[in-house]
């Protein structure tokens, strides 16, 4: 612990750690020092001069080095002749700070008056109006009247797109550089900068495409004026009209805490709708940031294509029916199928849904399968992060290993947290077949050949060759966190990788330790919760589905994912689908049950760091759909098992009673909050931005099994993957994840992020492309095992390793793992 320093701020004695800035010390003591350019997450620059205070230091006798005492025996304080910026001065012993003397107030008033000389004052239509630091501080400290002439105001461009997501209003900008510094210091994607100088200074973006960053939305939160606004929220509502509803982002397993801002509006037919997604502070998970996918990708929940009533297949196809009729049929067929029931759940479901589905399936004696392309959850349950871990605490002396993952594409906020840990001095090792955006921060980089991830990990463990130093860093590290992803890997390969990675952790005696553990970079947000509720992936999913008496599919679209699964579903005895949309699987179903979106109900998700977090209902559910746990409970009641179907909170009590890892959990515990630093989202928005503070729960991290049951073992009945043989004329296909994929939960947000969405294209090294006889931008048909994908564009990238073809997931190329594929020139025929 750092030394403590005691100082006086406005007659209040404050004790803070050494090195704290005066502005932060005042904030901790509850004293307002207004700021514009300072932000507690970034280095101070002292540009805006708003935080000027009077600083006095104890006078020291130069001859003796002793403090000079006044008549009362108190140290004599010498005030500096000019005001100083409190955001750049660290505290020192005996310092005296005055924040409300006439000189200081005069300085505040003058700075505000000066800033407003060229501010357009279009507050009535500004999206920031109502939550604007400049507005708030003008009211609190401003002069009320300007002495400058209105006609001399600068007239600048009002609606400049910095990329298609963020708009810049040059007149409103006060040049505090918070956005530039966020991109430089925090994200290290320096795409914004100042251009020109003096009165002509302005913010510009240098990248192509413009403002090319997955974190761009955060700049609108920390912008102290309305200069940066999002395209999504433009003129959508005034901030004071919005209601705040706590939620958890559903786009990836990081589990960022969010606040959904909702409003009732005429445009949406008088319904409550989500107007924007804002970050909610959780220093243990996402701090105060969220990625653009989480911010702009929420539109699927209110898509007009939602299924609104149960459907049953009759002669004329799927027809809407009542819940009773649909459930009667499901009951009848479930009773017939009995133990032949196969329940296939996707990782988008909440823990409560998965628990109830599992209970019904177990009651019937059926199988509980998990639809995922990333396996190894059993190892994460056992060797996951120890309870009380925080990636934000990793730093010097710790090691982070990221293997087979393009972390920025797969889970941007984890990328940010890992990058920040590396900035603080953690030894970052990146093992990946190709360069990624994590490489610049890595102390050790090893690019292995696609398909050789286990060998690479083995070499690291053994400390062979160039990895000797990395192995030493790994051994000597106090804490070790291992991320494993699915770069070029499928279910069998990721499971094997998880086993090896878990072995590395356990072998070094770090199993269950706080701030150490294994993290799987899943493709869905609650895959780990599905593991916890007893769902397991199946290597031969097609076989399991085709042999089932009844296939019950919840929040998964196997038919849309792979033709082999589509064929298998045709052979299933009966097909029940519960989902938000008429997916390809739902179109084949005998019964379709409409489910509620995460915005319309409550529940919990278990994040990749094994943190159980609660989301709350934000908008009224449309009549028709029911929450997934409620559907399962109704089905359960009909087939003879009584489950909780009315409230998610009571389902959690049942989970706590029957799932050992969740023992003792309830919603009250998950909703507990503790004091967080920095202070965000209170009245003083000028300090931390417009993100929300957390009243609704920091979540509860689960204890890994290695602690609760030290003698247990992981046993998985999954065969090790066979090495892939690439025949003559074929090429090795490696599936990779892109952030903006064309998946079900992002496609309805096409209007906003469409330009950045992964297209139907594959990436090759130019030499490999030439060897195969294709140039850049040529259209081909891919032929894999049991599938073809036509109209795929070839793209070349010199950074890629040779003899491999990278195919983005969720763009209509059904490869689920590494595969040998053949390429044919595109023949114009209707796509199968």
């Amino acid at each position: 612990m750092a030394n403590q320093v005691t100082l006086t701020i406005d007659d209040l004695t404050v004790t803070v750690p050494e090195g704290t800035l005066v502005v932060d010390a005042a904030r901790k003591a509850g004293i307002d020092i207004p700021v514009f350019c300072y932000h507690p997450k970034m280095e101070p620059v002292g540009m805006c001069r708003m935080c000027l205070v009077q600083v006095g230091r104890p006078m020291v006798d130069r001859a003796t080095g002793q403090p000079v005492l006044d008549a009362d025996g108190q140290p004599k304080i010498q005030f500096s002749p000019k005001l100083e910026t409190s955001c750049t001065i660290p505290v020192s012993e005996g310092m005296v700070i005055r924040t409300n003397t006439p000189e200081v107030l005069r300085a505040h008033r003058d700075i505000i008056e000066f800033l407003l000389t060229s501010h357009p004052l279009d507050c009535p239509i500004c999206d920031k109006g109502g939550e604007c630091p400049l507005q708030d501080l003008t009211r609190a400290y401003g002069p009320g009247q300007s002495r400058f002439l209105l006609d001399d105001k600068m007239r600048l461009a009002k609606h400049v797109p910095l990329g298609e997501l963020i708009y810049l209003d040059r007149e409103r900008c006060i040049l505090c550089a918070r956005c530039i510094r966020f991109q430089d210091e925090i994200v290290d994607e320096p795409v914004l900068s100042f251009y020109h100088r003096g009165r002509s200074m302005q913010i510009v973006t240098y990248s192509d495409p413009p403002f090319d960053s997955y974190f761009s939305g955060n700049t609108t939160d920390i912008c102290p004026v309305g200069a940066l606004t999002t395209a999504d929220f433009r003129f959508a509502a005034r901030p004071w009209e919005l209601k705040n509803n706590a939620s958890i982002c559903t786009q990836c397993p990081v589990g960022c805490n969010t606040t959904l801002n909702t409003r009732r509006e005429v445009k949406s037919g008088g319904k409550w709708v989500v107007k924007r997604v804002m970050p909610r502070q959780n220093e243990l998970v996402n701090e105060i940031w969220i990625c653009d996918k989480g911010r702009f990708g929420y539109h699927y929940a209110e898509s007009g294509e939602r299924i609104l009533s149960p459907h049953v297949r009759k002669e004329q196809g799927l027809v809407p029916v009542s819940w009773d009729e649909a459930l009667d049929l499901v009951e009848q067929r479930l009773r017939q199928a009995g133990a032949g029931t196969v329940t296939l759940a996707g990782g988008r479901l909440a823990n409560e849904d998965l628990f109830n589905l599992a209970q019904v399936t177990d009651h019937l004696g059926g199988r509980k399968l998990l639809h995922t392309q990333v396996g190894g959850g059993e190892y994460v349950q056992r060797y996951g992060l120890g309870k009380g871990s925080n990636l934000g605490e990793l730093g010097k002396g710790d090691a982070i290993l990221v293997i087979a993952s393009d972390l920025q594409e797969e889970a941007p906020v984890w990328w940010l947290r890992v990058k920040r840990a590396a900035d603080r001095g953690a030894a970052l090792m990146v093992l990946n077949p190709r360069p990624t955006r994590l490489d610049p921060y890595a102390r050790f980089i090893h690019h292995y050949r696609y398909g050789e991830e286990l060998e690479a990990l083995g070499r690291l463990a053994a400390g062979e060759g160039e990895l000797a130093e990395a192995a030493e860093a790994l051994r000597s590290a106090e804490n070790l966190v291992i991320f494993y992803g699915s770069e070029g890997l499928g279910l069998a390969e990721t499971t094997a990788l998880a086993r090896e990675a878990a072995g590395l952790l356990a072998g070094s005696g770090r199993a269950g330790k706080v701030n150490s553990g294994l993290i799987g970079v899943w493709q869905q947000n609650n895959t780990l919760g599905a593991y916890d509720m007893g769902f397991r992936p199946e290597a031969d999913l097609a076989g399991a589905l085709s042999g089932s008496g009844l296939a019950w599919i919840a929040a998964a679209d196997p038919a849309g994912d792979h033709p082999a699964l589509e064929a298998a579903l045709k052979q299933a005895g009966f097909l029940v689908v519960q989902d938000l949309f008429m997916t390809r699987t739902a179109q084949m179903a005998d019964v379709v049950l409409p489910a509620q979106a995460f915005t319309e109900r409550e529940g919990t998700f278990t994040s990749g760091e094994r943190r159980v977090q609660r989301f709350y209902p934000a908008v009224a559910a449309p009549p028709g759909p029911l929450a997934d746990f409620s559907i399962a409970a109704r089905v359960g009641l009909r087939v003879g098992i009584e489950l909780e179907g009315a409230s998610a909170a009571t389902v959690m009590l049942r989970i706590a009673a029957s799932v050992p890892a969740y023992a003792g959990l309830d919603y009250a515990l998950i909703s507990e909050v503790s004091e967080q630093w920095p202070i965000i989202g209170r009245e003083d928005r000028y300090y931390g931005g417009t993100g929300y503070d957390n009243h609704q729960g920091l979540g509860v991290q689960l204890q890994p099994d290695a602690v609760t049951d030290p003698d247990g073992e992981v046993s998985i009945a999954m065969a090790a993957p066979a090495p892939l043989q690439v025949p003559e004329g074929a090429v090795y296909l490696a599936p990779v994840t892109r952030l903006y994929d064309q998946g079900l939960t992002l496609k309805p947000s096409m209007k906003i992020v469409g330009q950045r969405m992964a297209r139907r294209e594959v990436w090759l090294n130019p030499e490999t492309a030439a060897r195969l006889g294709f140039g850049a931008a040529s259209l081909v048909t891919l032929e894999g095992e049991g599938w073809t994908a036509s109209g795929v564009e070839i793209r070349v990238d010199e950074q890629l390793p040779p003899d491999v073809l990278l195919a983005p997931r969720s763009v209509g190329i059904p490869a689920t793992g590494p595969e040998a594929v053949r390429l044919r020139p595109l023949v114009t025929e209707p796509e199968a």
Partner: protein
């Protein structure tokens, strides 16, 4: 006693002027600061709407009687001179207490309380005045909204504002 009272009445009947009027055939002039039904004004020269959909009237309203929803103008379809206009504007006259705070809050003098006090309804739904009912007629010389305007004319976020003159 009775006679004295009747005499007073008779005196008044003969000497004093009538104070009642034959409403509704006859209507009395209201005072200049009378606060009656709201009107959404237009610019006299162009016919464009003054309202920019800022919702400040909604925020100022102590009775929560106003509902505003904004949309963006374009040169093809322009309602107001700035970037934004009110696509929905509703006042619930049953809730309104005619305090005039909305007038005070309005940055463009778009909403004013007029002389009209004849507000009676047969059902609650008809007490909600929509934007069409509140907007004043297009002034002579102006055009109805939405208008097609040449690019580059309306480039400001909000129209030029000055202190109220009356």
């Amino acid at each position: 006693m009775l006679v004295r009272g009747l005499l007073t009445t008779l005196k008044a009947f003969l000497t004093e002027k009538t104070v009642t009027v034959q409403y509704p055939e006859q209507k009395r002039m209201v005072r200049t600061r009378f606060r009656g039904r709201h009107v959404l004004r237009r610019y006299e020269d162009t016919g464009l709407e003054r309202c920019i959909g800022c919702s400040l009237c909604e925020a100022a309203c102590p009775a929560d009687a106003i509902f505003v929803e904004a949309s963006e103008n374009s040169d093809e379809e322009r309602y107001s001179p700035g970037e934004r206009y009110a696509s929905t504007y509703e006042i619930n006259m049953l809730r309104c207490i005619f305090c005039g705070y909305c007038e005070d809050a309005c940055p463009t003098e778009a909403i004013v309380l007029s002389d009209n006090y004849e507000l009676s309804f047969h059902d609650r739904a008809s007490a909600i005045y929509t934007k069409e009912m509140l907007l004043e007629p297009v002034p002579p010389g102006g055009k109805p909204t939405p208008q097609r305007t040449p690019p580059g004319v309306y480039t400001r976020a909000i129209p030029e504002m000055s202190d109220p003159t009356d």
